[in-house]
Every structure is written in structure tokens, then in C-alpha cells.
Symmetry: C2
Subunit: 346 residues, 2 copies
């Protein structure tokens, strides 16, 4: 949803030259190496560049030098999480006749945001699709020259799609488990710095509340298997849950392991659900109930928003289900079901 934009003419080498009182070629030299220039000249150009906010036009440079500074990496469509998102976005962009450049980033949300905006302002791209969370609504909507679209999936300010993809399956998991007779739940959450982790946590609490169930708590984790193990081991023996909603499959497998260490049977004593449908889920003993997200679809739709924002063609969005719960062996009715009357939905 978040979309920064702006068409603003950028200063050229000649304007910098005029402001600095030198020739354009001198500025060119300055750009190339900053060498062979008198300190005074250097400084004047420095000032002019700073003042105009000059950034070289890399297209023009490439044209002249016949070097693009670009490499291409060709790789098969991968099948894992972010890679899947990317894959969907790439396919859509290709359909729209666009070339995609992937920039890998790391660091804090603030760093990321800066990097994204720099990219948008670089004049190298028509638009930027950020599959990474951006620092929330700051004054960043400054003229940047390119459209920026941030996936709600990853946006720190969680909105529509985020709730859609995240809340629904959690509710579905809990409702079904409640119908199987479960009354006491535990949620092992993911790193709360992630919007998806927060959304799942919120959805968990809401569902518990809505269906009138009991939560023995929410264990704030960090997406790690250890956090799952820990969460189980620390539980009060006389108030154990019968079902655990884990933030993802790794956490869930940690939960299962923790349960075994305490002598609890899964799913006999404890039902466990994961998230992501890791390839191994189907073969674990017990095979893990999980949520499969159509990341390619999400990626495609995100790309479509960007393509539209930069004036590209309107393509067919993915309109099928985004999330799907896969029920497997790790979920079953609790051993001594005290009450299995259906829970009212809504």
C-alpha cells in the first residue's frame, strides 16, 4: 500500500560545473577520481555537488563508456520463502516486459529504508519493490524519482493483506483444534520485530478470546528451534496446554523435541502446529500440521502493484488462496477430552 513517488528533474554535470565556476569536463574528472585537481577547485565542486544534490546519471555514463556495471545472475526458480516471493515477482515483471534487479540488503529497518530510498533516487530504476520492512511512516516521501512499493506482508505498519494472510490461518487452526476438544493453548511467537510474528500473536490472542478458550501464555521467541524447546520445558507441570501454536515449523519442531524431553507424546498429550510447510514437515514423526503460504502469489501481486505504479500494463493478479492449513499427524484430539462440543464460529 505504501507508495512514495515523484518525477523531479535531476541536476546535470553542467549545472554543477556552472555553479562551481568550472567546465563540465573538470566535474567529470572530479567524478572519476578526484585527482589532478587543485584543492580549491575540488572544494568548490564538492560544495556545488552537495548543494544541488547531484548524482551522476549512470545511464548516460553507461552509454558513453559502453559498460553497464551490471552483472546478471541467472538462476532457476527456487522454492524457499523469500526466494519464492522473489520468484513470483520476477515472473510478473517479466510478463510486463520489465527487467528486475535484485538488491540484497541487511541491517536495521532504518538502514534498509535508507538503502531503498537511495535506490529509488538513483535514477537507475523506475520503481522499487521492497520485500523488506521499512521504517514506519516518517517524512521519507521526499521526491525520489521512482515509485516505491512496500509489501504489506513485510510492512511494519501491518494492514489489509497482512491480516488476511496471517490472521485467518491462525484462527482456522485454533477453531479446528477447539472443535477437536482442545481448551488450553500456548503460543510460541516469533521475533516480535517482524510484522508477521506480531500479526500471528495478535491473531492468536483474538482467537483465544473469541472462542472463549484458555491461553497458558505467549512465549516470545526468536524463530529458533531452541525457543520452542525452551517454551515447553519451562511450562508449569500442573497447567500444561494441550495444543501449541508455533510461530513457524522450526519453532514447532523445537516444541515437539521439548515435549519428548518432558515425556509428553505428540499428538497424544500435545498437539503442535507450525507455519511455512517446510519440506521436511510431511516426514517428521509425527508429520507436522502447518500453514502453506502461496508466496509466489503474494510476490506476484506485490510486483503487480509496482508495475501499475510505474505505468506498466495491468496484469492478472493471483486471486487464489494465499494461505492454506495442512492438517497432519501432529494435531489430534486431546487424550482425555473433557468437552468436545463444537465452538461457535464468530
Amino acid at each position: 500500500m505504501t507508495e512514495y513517488s515523484a518525477p523531479t528533474r535531476r541536476p546535470t554535470i553542467k549545472e554543477v560545473a556552472r555553479l562551481a565556476g568550472v567546465s563540465h569536463q573538470t566535474v567529470s574528472r572530479y567524478l572519476k577520481s578526484r585527482q589532478g585537481l587543485r584543492p580549491a577547485t575540488l572544494e568548490r565542486i564538492d560544495v556545488a555537488v552537495e548543494e544541488l544534490g547531484y548524482r551522476p546519471n549512470l545511464m548516460a555514463r553507461s552509454m558513453r563508456t559502453r559498460r553497464t556495471g551490471r552483472l546478471a545472475v541467472v538462476m532457476p526458480v527456487t522454492t524457499y520463502n523469500q526466494a519464492r516471493l522473489l520468484s513470483g515477482a520476477l515472473a510478473a515483471a517479466h510478463e510486463a516486459g520489465r527487467v528486475v534487479e535484485v538488491v540484497s540488503v541487511e541491517g536495521s529497518a532504518a538502514t534498509l529504508t535508507e538503502r531503498v530510498l537511495e535506490l529509488a533516487g538513483s535514477g537507475q530504476v523506475d520503481g522499487v519493490l521492497s520485500l523488506t520492512p521499512m521504517a514506519a511512516g516518517n517524512g521519507h516521501n521526499l521526491p525520489s524519482g521512482a515509485a516505491v512499493v512496500v509489501t504489506p506482508e513485510f510492512d511494519d505498519a501491518m494492514r489489509s493483506i497482512g491480516e488476511l494472510t496471517d490472521a485467518t490461518p491462525v484462527t482456522e487452526l485454533i477453531e479446528r483444534l477447539a472443535n477437536l476438544g482442545h481448551r488450553r493453548f500456548l503460543h510460541v511467537a516469533g521475533d516480535q520485530a517482524f510484522a508477521s510474528a506480531r500479526a500471528r500473536k495478535v491473531a492468536y490472542l483474538e482467537a483465544i478470546d473469541r472462542f472463549g478458550l484458555e491461553s497458558v501464555g505467549v512465549s516470545d521467541g526468536d524463530w529458533s528451534g531452541e525457543s520452542g524447546v525452551e517454551a515447553i520445558l519451562q511450562l508449569d507441570a500442573d497447567r500444561l496446554p494441550t495444543a501449541v501454536i508455533a510461530a513457524n515449523d522450526v519453532v514447532a519442531s523445537g516444541v515437539v523435541r521439548g515435549a519428548y524431553e518432558r515425556g509428553l507424546d505428540v499428538p497424544g498429550d500435545l498437539s503442535v502446529t507450525g507455519w511455512d510447510d517446510n519440506e521436511l514437515c510431511r516426514f517428521l514423526p509425527p508429520s507436522l500440521t502447518t500453514v502453506r503460504i502461496n508466496l509466489e502469489g503474494v510476490g506476484r501481486n506485490a510486483a503487480l502493484r509496482l508495475i501499475k505504479a510505474v505505468g506498466g500494463p495491468e496484469l492478472e493478479p493471483w486471486s487464489g488462496p494465499v494461505a492454506e492449513v495442512i492438517w497432519r499427524e501432529s494435531t489430534a484430539p486431546p487424550r482425555q477430552s473433557t468437552d468436545s462440543s463444537p465452538v461457535g464460529s464468530r
Copy 2:
């Protein structure tokens, strides 16, 4: 290792115009929409374009139109297989001041090869790093304008690095298992269309031979968990192996599941090894012995070769271990070890 290259001046719009006996602007129009031109003119240009092998210079076009036709996708470093390779390559390219464009491809090796060469010849990139197998040594080294580097990791004609990364860990796995007392092995291979699957199979057979062990066979699979389950279920009850080398973690978890279905204990009756170090491996019951590949390192080194090929700076390659065996619970001495004298290495 494979490196195609060639610097060749490409024809321009004016040359096409001259050959077709029209003005450059007419060719420009032809390029834009092929409309508003008399059929005869159209045809003449068609012929000229064909004859010269003309392809528009997209840099020049972008410069004039101020549209790049490029989108950027910004994403966090991912942690899975190809994404990890990509991540390493991206980091290296960034260090060398290069921008990377990722093109996702699918289809047969021939299609891929064509796509890669087209990309190389498009003038849009300085070089192409192919992390995908290319059709083996054909006459494709035609002047393409950009360097092409194919990762041996993925090259169909397996060479040095491939052997290095694939053979060594298999040998290490088998040697250690043999030292634990295992004598009878099974290999559940991956899809033999993949170089890596073939390499692991070859390495398995060589190790069995070198250490004087017994193999109850090689089950050719398809990287799926089912292939692992099947392989175990079909085994002759009176000639069971005590150790299984699975092509990857998914296959291995299938093997474990198959073993349980047959009432075999892992690792009591059967030791199992995987490959890839899937995040869930550590938490499976039993946690899975596997091989961790430093894909970022491999990706980096591949990118370094390309960067060097296109005249970029020489960066520090990753020189640490590429593969590492992680020993976990799924491997142990066989229940009734008949003989545990160490196996001679070499």
C-alpha cells in the same frame, strides 16, 4: 570454468537505415510500433535488421526516454540453498561496485542456455553468471559481447569444484560410519539429471569400493521424501543395510519414516545421513546427521570469477571449508557391531 566472451561492435539504427535506404527516424518508428509505415518500407527494414543482426541499444534508449524498464526488488538475505548462493554472489558483486540483475529461468538445459546467451548478447550486462546448468560444450562461444561464467557446481560437465564439494563429504560420512562398525550401506540418490546427484552417487560407489564395504544397492530417487520411504520399504528383509546415505535431508527424513514403518529404529537399526542442513534437522527425533554446504562461499567465488572476467577488481575469495559434516543423533554404531576395527583411509 566455462567462459564465453567477445567484444564486438554492434550495428546502430543508422546503419540499418542506410542499408534499408530510409532515414534513421523511420527505423526508430519501426522499432517503436511498426505502424504508420508502408508495407514495402516495413519489409525493407525487416530485411536490413535481419541482415545486420541489429538489436536496439537499450542503454541509449533509456537515456533518451528516461525510463529504464527496470524494477528493483530489495530483499533481505535469504538462507536457503540457491538463495544462499545468490546472496554470496550479490555480496561479492556489490563489493566490486557492480549491480546485479537476477533473471529467473525455467525450462530445459537448451532453453536455459539460449536465454543465457541472449542475455549476454543483449548489451544490457557486462557479464552473466549462470547458476544453472548449460547445455554442454556446443559451438555457443559465438561473439556475445559479455563474459559468461557457469558455476561448476551446476555445470553439467562436472569438474573440479563439483568433485571437491560433493565427493569429500560423502567419503567422510562413509569412512566415519565404517569406523563405527557399519559394513552394509544403501544410497538413496537424487534425480540423476542433476550433476550434484550424480556426483554424490559416484562418490558413494567409490567410497564403498575403496573401504571394502558392501552396498545393498543404489536407489535412484528424485529428491523426494517419498523416494526415501520407498527405498526402505522395498528392501529385502534378510539383507538390510545398517546405514543409509540419503541424497538430501528430505530424502533422509523419508528414509527415517520408512524405517519406522518397518519397525526399524533409527539409529539403533539404521543410521541415516542427509545433506543440506535443513533448519529442522537439529530438532527431528532423532536429529539428523547432515552436510552443511557453504553456499554463500560458493556463490561468492563464482561471482569473483565473473568479476575478474569482466575486468573488475580481484577480491578476496572465500577459502574456508565449503562443506562440513554435522554429526547428530541419526548416526550411531550399528546395534550388534560384528567388527569395529578402523577402516584404512586411502
